[in-house]
């Protein structure tokens, strides 16, 4: 199996590529090649799930029952090409925080299709850190299904060398008073490309809904590319919606300001980039995984 040690050392990890032991805090069942995991309502310990490219299922379903209240870590680790369908279901009144990290141990191609369904009065706080090498496609379907459903979705993508990341985020407000807040941060180095297609849909009748998207990207090299295409499709008057995108090289005036206080160029760059990476890194627990991620970030930012 040979998983890197930081996977083993992360908090109480449950490896989905191994036979699940019976004493786990959640129930699981196989259904036609799909693995369904139902979480408990709450748990004293933080639950960490490790999903590797050796996992045998094609479809994974994570189910959070009614009124559940949990914080979990998801760790995706790919050593070979993989394609996965993942469904995350939040039932009524659940309040869930998911911190997910994507890593690879070499250049691979992955393809992830996800559906995130959020029921009435449920809230999902989802932070994703994408630190993979290679070519990666994400397709996220965020469905705000029940009244007062809400999601805060933050991503951090860092690419270098020839990496290619392409992410589609479709956010569908399918009930009244639903709230979505999507915040994408991107850092592109060397010849890498990051693309984000962010689409917010508010259907007719879904009054009181609020759909916000923010995208910020910084390009560290001459040939790095960041493309962001935020769109709003709104068929209802009584809503709030907004999007913004700010992409560019490190701002010359920001740089000058920091240099004028005596910071070296590399120090100034480090501080400016910290503004992108820190929100995600802060959401991680102390430990081997955090250390690994900090090293990954440093390596990508340096272009090594």
């Amino acid at each position: 199996m040979n998983n890197p040690t930081y996977l083993e050392q992360s908090l109480h990890p449950v490896f989905l590529d191994r036979p699940l032991e019976s004493n786990h805090h959640f129930s699981s069942k196989d259904k036609n090649g799909a693995l369904i995991i139902t979480f408990p309502k709450n748990s004293k310990e933080k639950i960490s799930l490790v999903i590797t490219s050796d996992v045998q299922f094609n479809q994974l379903e994570l189910v959070f029952p009614k009124d559940s209240y949990l914080s979990i870590n998801l760790l995706y680790h790919f050593r070979k090409n993989a394609s996965r369908d993942i469904k995350i279901l939040l039932h009524q009144g659940s309040n869930i925080k998911i911190t997910e990290t994507y890593l690879t141990s070499r250049n691979v191609k992955t393809n992830l299709n996800r559906i995130l369904e959020i029921d009435q009065n449920a809230h999902l706080l989802l932070s994703s850190g994408l630190f993979m090498d290679g070519e990666h496609t994400f397709k996220d379907e965020l469905l705000l299904k029940g009244e007062n459903a809400s999601i805060d979705f933050d991503t951090l993508t860092i690419s270098h060398h020839q990496d290619r990341f392409s992410t589609i985020q479709d956010i569908r407000h399918q009930a009244k008073n639903t709230v979505s807040n999507v915040h994408n941060l991107m850092v592109s180095n060397n010849h890498s490309t990051i693309e984000f297609y962010v689409n917010g849909y508010i259907a007719k009748g879904m009054s009181g809904s609020n759909c916000k998207q923010q995208n910020r990207g910084v390009i560290l090299s001459e040939t790095g590319i960041i493309r962001v295409d935020p769109k709003l499709f709104i068929d209802e008057y009584d809503v709030e919606a907004g999007h913004g995108a700010a992409i560019g090289q490190i701002n010359e005036d920001e740089m000058f300001y920091l240099l004028s206080r005596g910071l070296s160029e590399s120090e100034a760059k480090r501080l400016i980039l910290q503004g992108y990476t820190e929100p995600f890194v802060l959401s991680l627990d102390e430990g081997a995984l955090k250390k690994t991620i900090n090293q990954r970030i440093a390596r990508k930012v340096k272009g090594e």
Partner: protein, 272 residues
């Protein structure tokens, strides 16, 4: 004691010559005021001394303690003791004020020395208090969402902690209400010492009520056209700059200055 000298300094921005031969010497212990109408090149002078990459020295020299620093990197100028309090301090999202100043102070320590963090925190807090800045300030992102007055005070806070030997304060009075102006004025005056040479740039006299200069220079159209003592301030205050026009035979210097902003859309994100 530090000495900053400008000798026949000619400076251009994007192909337009803005400064036409500036000669100025500032020594430790001296406070110089540079006054002049808008668009006359005052900020250009401040930026070129700090080394902003947009501004280009066409000819002439800037010397620090007798050493030509035309080509010196910006960060080295700072570590050698030059400080620029900017007219429009930049907002840097994601970097906290405290982290930033701490990094800047650390950068000027000798290699074998460490920052004594406890002592530094106290100094930071005391300085913020003296400037009557809110206590939450250290954990806010650098200048982000600061009011005009808060940004200016934050510049002075940094000056206090970085302890420069040559300081240029570019319109540190703009955006300040009367009380804030007094606080800033008192704080800057308290920093006066034989080890600090200062250039105060302003186009109002009001800042100079609080920080009394030893020399006053009038700059018009990229040249220092007159140098005198504090008596010049009162004259400008009552008569404006027009009398100089007649006296020196300069025409149309107050044609509407063209407005430029630093940065372009591609590199200066407006939405954050």
């Amino acid at each position: 004691m530090a000495i900053l000298e400008m000798k026949n300094l000619v400076v251009s921005v994007e192909g337009n010559t803005i400064l036409h031969g500036i000669n100025l010497t500032v020594k430790g212990g001296e406070t110089h005021a540079i006054m002049g109408p808008n668009g006359t090149g005052k900020s250009t002078l401040a930026q070129i001394v700090m080394g902003h990459p947009k501004y280009k020295i066409e000819s002439g020299e800037i010397l620090l303690d007798g050493e030509v620093m035309n080509e010196m990197p910006v960060d080295e100028r700072s570590r050698r003791g030059v400080f620029l309090g900017m007219q429009n301090p930049v907002e840097v999202p994601g970097v906290t004020n405290f982290d930033f100043v701490k990094t800047a102070v650390t950068a000027r320590l000798p290699k074998d020395k460490h920052l004594r963090i406890g002592k530094f925190i106290l100094e930071f807090e005391d300085s913020a208090k003296e400037l009557k800045m809110g206590s939450g300030l250290s954990h806010r992102f650098l200048n982000q969402g600061f009011s005009g007055g808060e940004k200016k005070r934050n510049e002075i806070l940094q000056m206090k902690l970085l302890k420069p030997s040559i300081a240029l304060l570019d319109e540190i009075d703009s955006g300040l209400d009367v009380d804030a102006l007094r606080i800033v004025g008192e704080n800057v005056t308290a920093l006066k010492s034989p080890n600090l040479g200062m250039i105060l740039i302003t186009h109002y006299q009001r800042l100079l009520d609080y920080i009394v200069p030893d020399y006053v220079h009038i700059m018009i159209k990229g040249q220092i056209v007159k140098t005198g003592g504090k008596e010049l301030i009162a004259k400008i205050d009552s008569d404006g700059y027009d009398w100089l026009k007649a006296e020196l035979g300069i025409d149309d210097f107050d044609e509407g200055p063209k407005q430029y902003s630093l940065g372009t859309c591609a590199t200066n994100p407006t939405t954050r």
